[in-house]
Amino acid sequence: MTTHPDPALRETPGVVPQAGPSEDWAPGVDTVPRAAGTPEELQPYAELGLRDDEYDRIRHILGRRPTQSELAMYSIMWSEHCSYKSSKVHLRQFGEKAPPSDRLLAGIGENAGVVQVSDELAVTFKVESHNHPSFVEPYQGAATGVGGIVRDILAMGARPVAVMDPLRFGAADHPDTARVLPGVVAGVGGYGNCLGLPNIGGEVVFDPCYQGNPLVNALCLGVLPVDRLQKKDATGPGNIVVLMGAKTGRDGIGGVSVLASATFDEGSEQRRPSVQVGDPFMEKLLIEACLELYDAELVVGIQDLGGAGLTCALTETAASAGTGMRVWLERVPLREPSMEPHEILASESQERMLLVVSPDKLDAVLKTAEKWGVWATAIGEVTAPSPDGQPGRLVITWRDQLVVDVPPGSLVDDGPVYARPMREPADLILLQADRAETLPRPSNPDALRETVLRMIGSPNLADKTWVTEQYDRYVLGNTVLAQPEDSGVIRIDERTGLGVALSVDGNGRYARLDPYHGTKLALAEAYRNVAVTGAKPIAVTNCLNFGSPEDPGVMWQFAEAVRGLADGCLELGIPVTGGNVSFYNQTGAAAIHPTPVVGVLGVLDNVADRVPMGFVPRPAGDHDQLF
């Protein structure tokens, strides 16, 4: 049931062990029966980031202590990153205040929002952060950031057609910026160029507040025929669960390394890298393979593997369908055979997708994977909800040992939700009192000249060509506007000339002074940038980059920013269709400026009518420019 990229090396089809899990305890593996029999065993839940009450809740849900694998899964799914536990209560406003829209085919909660733009076509777009990894390993961090957002777009049934990259670095003349910036730019370019996605815009901002915590946000735009929209639901008991793409290795499992069994030696810590390495070539093949599967209607459900790897993909697909799932974990193709169950479940190896396939289509799916040279392996099957109407359970075995038996919804939907304390930062009044009017102004021509020169020479206003030249803007042949324009414009239908305009903007300094209005300003800027091309803005995405939510001051900034964006969207009459929250952007106790980055998407019925920044002779003879 596995295809190998090269037929010559293909393994003989594995037989799915149909027997039930064994009741014996396997040495070294923490099984469900073992967990039930050893309720007092101490578990490192605190090291995994779970609070006492969260751990108690897990025990309550399961009626026993969790196994190692289950503990790893809960710790990941209930983390801030996956559960949005601090932001959820605020983000609701995006839905509550959203104007009614008949264009929205998928909204918040899906991998990415999908907006219909013509009778036949829809577009999907989303911006996401990859800040921390990009500080540790700038090239790979940025590269895998692009790779991750592209898979989100792909999972909706869309062909990815363009990327953008809002970036923020520390001071331009700081030695560490010389390490981080070139690496990040090369990584964004290396991955996007190799995938064949034109880069149509972004931001490069320098501010000392990002010195130890650069912001690497990546946006991807995709296009799909309306009837190709994909769902993540693992519907249909008996359907096969297929893992497609790269092999699974120990990428990005630093977090769960405390679960290493005692058999691991001293050096084992070293074996658990928190950095992921991307393979854009594999992702390109994965894209083509997925699109071929969609067009042939071979998949029932699909989900990308992102931050929480298999754990997230398995639980989300099952939970959203209310079904259960039976998974044979040893069937996951591994890069390192010594991986343990909890490591396989937590791995963040890139370039993987989870498919739900009806049994009669399995062969065709494996053939398509083989044609494109990617692995595809049947690792499990969808099981029925329980007879009493309760959702099914996620049951995972490892070499016949039962290692996971959980209600999938408990990981996805029943995670903790916090209304964290908020307080206006104490220094805000002082900051706001330091008004622009009180600043010294150039009062004579020389001072004015000096000010102008200083502005022209400042990194934030300088020409960005050094960055943007490293990105392919031409590939796919549909780029109508890109750098240095206000918005990127992409033709999405060669026949009709239909196209979309996209802009991403943010200003951490404004948001620091007033997060509510600062966020509205970011929205307004992106909205204007799209509108001046001649496009009609129709949808919003956002990436909210903030410090620690456990800091009441940061939490207040966050709440204000969300309120500002929701109100702004209400006033402009366009919905937020998706986004991403990135907390804990700080060095020690010092948080970055609150940095909401807002992306606006607009539609152009005919891209030939776009208005570029410069003067352009029109066929009609009149020249026009909008400001």
Partner: protein, 87 residues
């Protein structure tokens, strides 16, 4: 003049897409007995004076390798083992 060679390889647990692509291509060349290929960098450093292993190690650590994903080793070679004189 002897040189210092720094070999930088991805840590074994880190994905090496390059090595993998080469390994996957080998069957088409009729090669089927290769289990794995890993690709790293070989850096040859020539000093103005005596070759200095410690100095080379320092350069490798600071500049040539990223310890988060790579390991390196440093050793001396005689000039005639290096690129200048190959079969």
């Amino acid at each position: 003049m002897p040189r210092v060679v720094v070999d930088v390889m991805l840590k074994p647990e880190i994905l090496d897409p390059q090595g993998q692509a080469v390994a996957n291509a080998l069957p088409r060349l009729g090669v089927s007995d290769v289990a794995s290929v890993r690709i790293g960098r070989r850096i040859e450093i020539e000093f103005t004076g005596e070759p200095d292993l410690d100095r080379a190690r320092e350069i490798a650590d600071k500049l040539l390798a990223n310890p988060v994903i790579e390991d390196f080793t440093v050793h001396l070679v005689e000039a005639d083992e290096t690129a200048d004189a190959r079969s």
